[in-house]
C-alpha cells in the first residue's frame, strides 16, 4: 500500500495587502456557496433530502444541490461505492471543476463498512480519489451531515481544503489503484495530465509507471480545436 506524502500547500507569494484581502474574500465566498452534486451513490443519500429540505434546510448555509458535475463543488459519496459506480464516480469527479471537495459519508467509504466481504464494492475511497472529509456513521444523521459540511466550510475558508490539488500531484498513485481495480485499459475522457499542466500542478507524483501504461492504452481525446486551414484535398463525395 503506497502512502501519500502530504505535500505542503505552496501559497502564492502575494505581498500586496489588497491582494491578500481579495484572496480572503474569494475563500470566504467559496466557503459560503457550496453546490452539492446530486448523485446518490449509496444508501446514505436517503439522509440528504431531510438535510436539504424544510427541517434542516441546507440552503441557509448557502448549500444547494446541483445536477451536473460541471456545476458542482462537492461530491458527496453517500455510502458504499460498487465498482461499477466507482467508475462513474471517478468520471464525475474528474469532470467537476476545481476547487472541488469530496466528502465520504457513511462508514463504508472509510473501510468498506459492513460490506467488507463483498466482491462488488470498493473498500477505501481515498485510494481512488482524495477525500477532504469523512462523516462516519451508518448512516450519519442530517445534523451530522450538516456539521460535517460546516467543518468543510471552515476548512475552505482557512484554505486547508486543497485535496483536489493532491489528485493532480499524485495522479500516478490514484491511477494505479484505479487500473488495479478496473483493468489496464482504464481511461476516462478527461485528460488529467494536461489539466495538471494547465493548473501548474505537475509534480513528480503526477507521472509514473501507471500514467505510462495509460498512454499506451488510451485513445487520446484532445479538445477539438477550431481550425482555419483550407488544406483538404478531396471534397467528400
Amino acid at each position: 500500500m503506497g502512502s501519500i506524502k502530504q505535500i505542503p500547500v505552496v501559497e502564492a507569494k502575494r505581498t500586496n495587502p489588497l491582494a491578500r484581502v481579495f484572496d480572503d474574500l474569494v475563500r470566504f465566498c467559496r466557503s459560503r456557496s457550496l453546490f452539492i452534486l446530486h448523485y446518490c451513490t449509496g444508501c446514505g443519500a436517503i439522509e440528504l433530502p431531510p438535510a436539504m429540505t424544510s427541517r434542516f434546510d441546507m440552503e441557509r448555509l448557502g448549500i444547494q444541490p446541483m445536477v451536473s458535475p460541471r456545476q458542482a463543488d462537492i461530491l458527496l459519496i453517500t455510502g458504499y461505492v460498487s465498482i461499477k459506480t466507482l467508475k462513474r464516480v471517478i468520471l464525475t469527479y474528474e469532470q467537476m471543476g476545481s476547487p472541488k471537495y469530496v466528502i465520504g459519508i457513511c462508514s463504508c467509504t472509510v473501510n468498506g463498512g459492513m460490506y467488507w466481504q463483498s466482491y462488488a464494492t470498493a473498500k477505501k475511497l481515498d485510494e481512488y480519489m482524495p477525500v477532504d472529509l469523512y462523516i462516519a456513521g451508518c448512516m450519519p444523521r442530517p445534523e451530522a451531515v450538516i456539521a460535517g459540511l460546516q467543518q468543510l466550510m471552515d476548512k475552505i475558508h482557512s484554505g486547508e481544503a486543497s485535496s483536489w490539488e493532491d489528485y493532480y500531484r499524485n495522479y500516478d498513485y490514484y491511477l494505479g489503484n484505479q487500473q488495479k481495480l478496473f483493468g489496464e485499459d482504464w481511461q476516462t475522457p478527461t485528460d488529467v495530465i494536461s489539466e495538471a499542466k494547465h493548473y501548474d500542478l505537475l509534480s513528480e507524483g503526477t507521472l509514473g509507471d501507471h500514467t505510462r501504461l495509460l498512454e499506451q492504452h488510451q485513445k487520446p481525446l484532445e479538445a477539438l480545436e477550431m481550425r482555419l486551414g483550407h488544406e483538404q484535398e478531396e471534397p467528400a463525395k
Binding site: 431531510p50 429540505t53 459506480t85 466482491y119 444523521r141 475522457p189 485513445k219
Partner: protein, 380 residues
C-alpha cells in the same frame, strides 16, 4: 470491461439519438440508469441498466450468522427498510418454528405501517419533484422526518431500525410513546388537506400525470406488477389481506384502488394508502395497552445458533409491492441461500422499459417515480 468506445470511425446514419438517464440524474430514483433512444422527444427504445448499487447481499448473507444478517437486510431497500427486517425474521421464525408473542406482532404492525407512511410521503414528494413541484417534496420529506423521529425513539435508529429480530422485537416501547405516535399521526392527517390542495388536486399536476405510463390490468398481471401499482389498475389485491401475516387479519382497513393505471392513479393510491396506514396505526395504538406479555420469544445463543434445515418462502406487502424472501437452511450457523425478491425488480426493469417506450422525455422520470421503483432492491 470498458463501458465506452473511443475508437469508432463512423456513426450510424440514423436520425435517432441516445440519451443517458442516470446514474447521476435527478429524474432517476437512486443510483440507477436508463439508456433511451429517442426520436425528437419520443422514446423508441429504453434499456434499464442496473448494478450500480450491487453489493452482493445474497452472497454476503451466506457468509454471515443468522443473527448478523438482521443488520444487512434493511439496507436492501433504503426508503422502506422495515418490511425487509420483518420478512427475513419471519422466514427464520418459520424455519425454527418459533412462536412470536402477540404483543411483538402488534408492535411490528405499528412499525411496518409507520414505515409505509414515511415511504409514501417520500415517494409522492419525489414524484412531485420530477414535475418541478419542489414545495411538495420539501413538505413531504420534512413531515416524513417526524415519523423518523418516532422510529428513533422506539428503535434507536432513524432509518435502519434493526428492530425486528427473529422471535420478536428488540425492545419495549418507551413510556408515553403511543401518545406521541397519535400526536404525530394527527399532525400528518391535518397536513393532508394541504397536500391535496397543493398537489393532488393541482390541475397542472393532474394534467401532467394523467395518461402517463398507462398500463391495463391485464398488462400489469402479465408483467408481474404488484402493490400499489397493481391496485392502481383496479385490482384490489393486498398481501396483508389476502395472504395475511402477523395480525393483519384482525385489523380493519380498506384496499384503495384506482382504475386508470397511470402515474396519477398510482400516486393517488399511495395517498389513500397513507390514510389506511394511519387508520391501522390508530387501531394498534388503541389496542396495544391491553396486550401484555413478552415482546420476544426466547432464542438460543445467537452466536451459536444452528437453524434447522429446510426452506421457506415468506411474503410481505412493502410500500412498493410484494416483497418475498426465499430462505434455505442446511442446518448450519449461516443461511445456505437467501433469495430476495424485491417488488422493484419487476417495476424498475421490465415494466419501466415497457412503459417508457412510446412515452416522452418529460414523462420518463414521472413513470419511474410513480412506479416507486427502488434500485437497491433490484441490484441487491
Amino acid at each position: 470491461m470498458r463501458p465506452e468506445n473511443y475508437e469508432a470511425q463512423r456513426q450510424p446514419p440514423s436520425n435517432e439519438f441516445e440519451l443517458n438517464f442516470g446514474p447521476n440524474h435527478p429524474g432517476i430514483e437512486g443510483n440507477y440508469a436508463l439508456k433511451v433512444k429517442l426520436h425528437g422527444d419520443v422514446v423508441l427504445e429504453a434499456q434499464a441498466d442496473g448494478g450500480y448499487l450491487h453489493r452482493g447481499f445474497e452472497k454476503l448473507m451466506e457468509q454471515r450468522l443468522w443473527i448478523q444478517n438482521i443488520a444487512l437486510v434493511p439496507r436492501i431497500c433504503v426508503p422502506d427498510p422495515s418490511p425487509m427486517e420483518l420478512c427475513y425474521s419471519m422466514a427464520v421464525e418459520q424455519l425454527c418454528g418459533l412462536h412470536v408473542p402477540q404483543r411483538a406482532n402488534w408492535i411490528r404492525v405499528m412499525q411496518l405501517e409507520l414505515s409505509r407512511i414515511a415511504a409514501h410521503l417520500f415517494t409522492f414528494g419525489g414524484h412531485a419533484a420530477t414535475t418541478g413541484m419542489y414545495s411538495t417534496m420539501y413538505w413531504g420529506v420534512a413531515d416524513r422526518d417526524l415519523v423518523l423521529d418516532l422510529f428513533e425513539e422506539f428503535t434507536g435508529g432513524r432509518v435502519y431500525s434493526i428492530y425486528n429480530i427473529p422471535g420478536g422485537v428488540r425492545r419495549e416501547l418507551p413510556s408515553g410513546f403511543l401518545q406521541r405516535v397519535s400526536e404525530t399521526l394527527d399532525y400528518i392527517e391535518s397536513r393532508l388537506p394541504d397536500y391535496d390542495n397543493l398537489f393532488f388536486k393541482n390541475q397542472v399536476f393532474v394534467k401532467r400525470a394523467k395518461d402517463v405510463g398507462v398500463m391495463t390490468q391485464e398488462q400489469a398481471l402479465a408483467w408481474g406488477v404488484t402493490g400499489p401499482n397493481l391496485r392502481a389498475t383496479g385490482l384490489a389485491f393486498d398481501v396483508r389481506r389476502d395472504d395475511p401475516y402477523l395480525i393483519y387479519d384482525q385489523l380493519e382497513f380498506e384496499i384503495p384502488t384506482e382504475e386508470s393505471g397511470d402515474a396519477w392513479a398510482r400516486t393517488l393510491v399511495r395517498r389513500h394508502e397513507l390514510m389506511e396506514s394511519i387508520r391501522i396505526v390508530r387501531q394498534v395504538v388503541e389496542a396495544l395497552p391491553d396486550i401484555h406479555g413478552p415482546i420476544r420469544a426466547p432464542i438460543p445463543n445467537p452466536l451459536a445458533w444452528n437453524v434447522p434445515a429446510g426452506e421457506t418462502y415468506t411474503r410481505v406487502e412493502s410500500s412498493k409491492g410484494e416483497l418475498c424472501y426465499y430462505v434455505v437452511s442446511d442446518g448450519g450457523p449461516k443461511p445456505y441461500r437467501v433469495h430476495v425478491r424485491g417488488p422493484s425488480s419487476m417495476h424498475a426493469v421490465q415494466v419501466l422499459e415497457k412503459l417508457s417506450v412510446g412515452s416522452r422525455i418529460e414523462d420518463i422520470a414521472q413513470t419511474m417515480f410513480s412506479l416507486d421503483a427502488c434500485p437497491p432492491e433490484v441490484d441487491r
